[in-house]
């Protein structure tokens, strides 16, 4: 501070009486009601990042169903679409049939490893910034703050007796929440049908009952989870906080309180002699700004906790106070536990992002990603399944020949009408024929409509005297697209009575 002027803050910070919910809970019996958290608004770097992520996530959610992707005449042009009645899922260039659900599994595995890697590096940034529960809770809190005011105003309003003003504010808040919830539920089902058509239907009352049901369901869950359950979802419902510590180590960046510098904490009081009030004590002025701003209502100074979602809002709150009292920022900061020990001992912090754990997660990501890529690139647009008739196993015909029947399904995954030729390998003298189709002899012509499965009953006839070595002979059906680009085969058996 300037010479002559007593060192110390320009003005004392506002002291909040917030007490962490854990402290409050310790005094309560089992099955106590939830202790309501009234997070205080804050501004700063992490708050801005959180706002940015909120806008980005909501933008993806609301814009994605409206993206178009041309797939020709016989398929929908919505870029991201899960067509449940049609049993298809579309994701830009990728189109998934039900039996290819392993692509979805792959995406989920990638997402899981991505989450592990992010957590190992930077702690629970998913929880703090990108999880739908965080995004929608933040949005609902924003509306709450606009209508009912900030933390103290809301606490006062909660305690105030019933009045017209209170009723009006509550009505406005819940009405806005319900509108937001309906918008959330409404957008959710747009991923399951043609968005423009569905939206018109929803508003003109022509959508199906199940569509309204799902809008209602997702609206209700949004309203309950973002309006009321909030941090309880993270603490009690979500499994992730319970095992995320397995991904963390002492070199992961998490929200930490520099207790070595903050303690012993104490309220800021001017020394009678005007000397530096921070001599002989820690930097923490025990203003509770970090507790008041925490969306899960905890006190970060208690150390690493299950409830902490790693959003860093307490960092912003503390930095503002540190600026006011003239102490260095980052009393609460994103830092590793190792670095905190180093700083406490006066050593320089070491930043190590590349470690066995992160390398392993990256490798797993790369391996699964490569497998997925190979799967997508080499995805065949035709599939063949063959079911042998088992009742009867074989038929002997008038001319003494033996016939087996097969039900052949041709899956045409392209968006064009396609012809295929079916040939047989393994029984050189056998003849192919089919019901209602062209061609007979050594190859058949099967056609399949765009994006459809075509079923044919195919007969394989072995002439009299052309004995087979065993009762059961391995044969293979070979299917080839008429344009020659796609081929596939399927093994089965031919059964003839022993000679």
């Amino acid at each position: 501070m300037d010479g002559g002027v007593a060192p110390g803050p320009a003005h004392a910070p506002e002291v909040d009486s917030a007490v962490s919910i854990k402290t409050q809970k310790a005094a309560m019996p089992l099955y106590a009601s939830r202790i309501k958290v009234h997070p205080k608004n804050v501004s700063g770097l992490y708050r801005n990042i959180k706002w940015g992520m909120l806008v980005a996530c909501l933008a993806v959610y609301y814009i994605a169903p409206w993206l178009r992707w041309d797939r020709g005449l016989f398929a929908p042009d919505q870029a991201i679409l899960i067509d449940l009645p049609g049993r298809r899922a579309y994701f830009f260039f990728l189109e998934i049939w039900p039996q290819e659900v392993y692509f979805l599994t792959g995406i989920l595995v990638l997402a899981a490893f991505g989450l592990f890697l992010a957590t190992a590096l930077f702690g629970r940034i998913w929880c703090g910034y990108a999880c739908p529960q965080t995004v929608w809770t933040d949005l609902f809190m924003l509306v709450e703050r606009w209508i009912e005011g900030d933390r103290n105003a809301r606490i006062r309003l909660d305690a105030a007796p019933a009045s017209f003003g209170k009723f009006a504010k509550r009505t406005a808040k819940h009405a806005s929440w319900i509108v937001l919830s309906l918008a959330t539920g409404g957008a959710c089902i747009l991923f399951f049908g043609d968005a423009p058509t569905l939206l018109t239907e929803l508003f003109t009352g022509r959508a199906s009952a199940s569509e309204y049901f799902f809008v209602g369901l997702f609206a209700t869950t949004t309203y309950v989870l973002a309006g009321f359950a909030r941090e309880q979802v993270c603490t009690y419902m979500c499994p992730w906080p319970r095992f995320q510590s397995a991904m963390l180590d002492d070199r992961s960046y998490v929200v930490t309180y520099e207790s070595w510098r903050g303690e012993p904490r104490g309220r800021l009081a001017k020394k009678a002699d005007g000397s530096d009030p921070f001599v002989g004590r820690g930097d923490c002025v025990d203003c509770n700004a970090c507790v008041a701003t925490c969306p899960t209502g905890i006190d970060i100074r208690d150390g690493q906790q299950l409830e902490c979602i790693g959003c860093g809002l307490c960092i912003d709150a503390c930095n503002a106070v540190m600026d006011k009292v003239g102490r260095p920022r980052s009393l609460i900061r994103f830092d590793t536990l190792d670095n905190q020990r180093a700083r406490a001992e006066g050593r320089a912090p070491v930043h190590r992002l590349i470690r066995a754990r992160t390398v392993l997660y990256t490798l797993l990501l790369a391996v699964v990603g490569s497998i997925m890529l190979v799967g997508v690139v080499f995805r065949s647009t035709v599939e063949l399944t063959v079911q042998r008739d088992r009742n009867p196993l074989y038929v002997r015909l008038v001319d003494g020949s033996v016939r087996n029947a097969y039900t052949v399904h041709v899956l045409n995954k392209t968006h064009n009408m396609r012809d295929y030729t079916l040939a047989l390998e393994g029984l050189p003298t056998a003849r192919l024929s089919m019901v209602g189709g062209e061609g007979a002899g050594d190859r058949l012509v099967l056609s399949a409509k765009p994006d459809q499965v075509a079923s044919y009953r195919v007969f394989v006839t072995l002439p009299d005297g052309a004995a087979t070595k065993h009762e059961s002979t391995q044969i293979e059906f070979k299917l080839r697209a008429a344009d020659g680009r796609d081929r596939t085969e399927r093994e089965t058996v031919f059964i003839a009575p022993p000679n």
């Binding site: 019996p29 008739d389 038929v395 002997r396 015909l397 008038v398 003494g400 029947a405 209602g436």
Partner: protein
């Protein structure tokens, strides 16, 4: 009987007032949300009593204001299914058997529908896979007693075989042995001849004698060389496919006492469109001509 509610010193919780041998029970009530959910389910159940059939009486039960029954629900969904199939069924009704077999859509619908009609009505005798069994013809092979064209199969299904329907297919093989038309020696010879038609005779002399008996007694229906005559329902004897068995003892039994398998007429039991579907299905099994 609650005696005295007191505050527990350790936990600060009230007791229920119950005490057994000095053991007192803490009053830790259920969570509110749990209790209210429980009450809500009770109310929900009351709603069921009013809306749905619930209470048994001496001569029936309460029907509920919705008038819902399980039977009603299934007949409703059956009616829905029938309505959904109606356009196709009407087209099948109007089309000829040949047209149904030629059109991919109609053929696929007929085969799928025919399969279900077959499973309900025909499978008990002909088997689920239509492979038949002793006395019940195999419908999968290409050996037909009464003909294997679409029209032949259609007529057989409609009118049946050897039943009281006036249009029923009728034919009767004489009981050559029981009615003393042939003696045992002749029957043995003709059986040997029949075996020779499928190259299974081991007694050329008997077969030669049998050929004469055959030409005098059997050829009128089974035709020369035993090729059979679908017009008369006379099976082929040369195909080595047998309804009752092709070994010599069974052949002798058949010639001696004759056979008279019967099949019901389905024209009054299944509607015309479904009989057509059934015809196309049977024809598609592989043996259709």
């Amino acid at each position: 009987m609650p005696t005295k509610i007191e505050k527990d010193a350790v936990t600060g919780t009230d007791t229920t007032g119950h005490e057994w041998d000095g053991i007192k029970e803490l009053n830790t009530p259920l969570p509110k949300w749990w209790l209210y959910t429980f009450y809500a389910t009770i109310l929900w159940a009351l709603g069921y009593f009013v809306l749905y059939p619930a209470w048994p009486g001496l001569s029936g039960h309460t029907t509920g204001v919705l008038g819902w029954t399980m039977r009603g629900e299934i007949s409703e969904s059956l009616a829905q299914a029938a309505a959904a199939q109606a356009p196709f069924v009407n087209r099948i009704d109007a089309a000829s058997l040949e047209d149904i077999a030629k059109s991919t859509d109609l053929r696929n619908f007929a085969i799928a529908g025919g399969r279900s009609v077959f499973a309900v009505n025909c499978a008990p005798c002909h088997g689920a896979g239509a492979a038949g069994s002793k006395g019940f013809p195999n419908l999968v092979d290409d050996n037909w007693i009464w003909g294997g064209t679409l029209d032949d199969i259609h007529t057989t299904i409609q009118n049946g075989i050897r039943n009281s329907n006036p249009d029923s297919r009728i034919s009767q093989m004489p009981r050559f042995g029981a009615d003393k038309i042939l003696d045992a020696k002749q029957i043995d010879d003709v059986a040997e001849y029949v075996l020779s038609l499928s190259r299974r005779s081991r007694n050329a002399a008997a077969a030669e004698r049998g050929a004469v008996v055959y030409s005098e007694n059997c050829e009128a229906c089974h035709l020369q060389g035993g090729v059979g005559n679908a017009e008369m329902g006379a099976p082929s004897l040369a195909a080595n496919i047998w309804l009752y068995g092709g070994d010599k003892a069974t052949l002798v039994e058949t010639i001696t006492n004759s056979r008279a398998g019967a099949m019901p007429a389905w024209t009054d039991r299944i509607d015309a469109a479904r009989i057509k579907m059934l015809t196309v299905y049977v024809h598609s099994l592989g043996g259709g001509k």
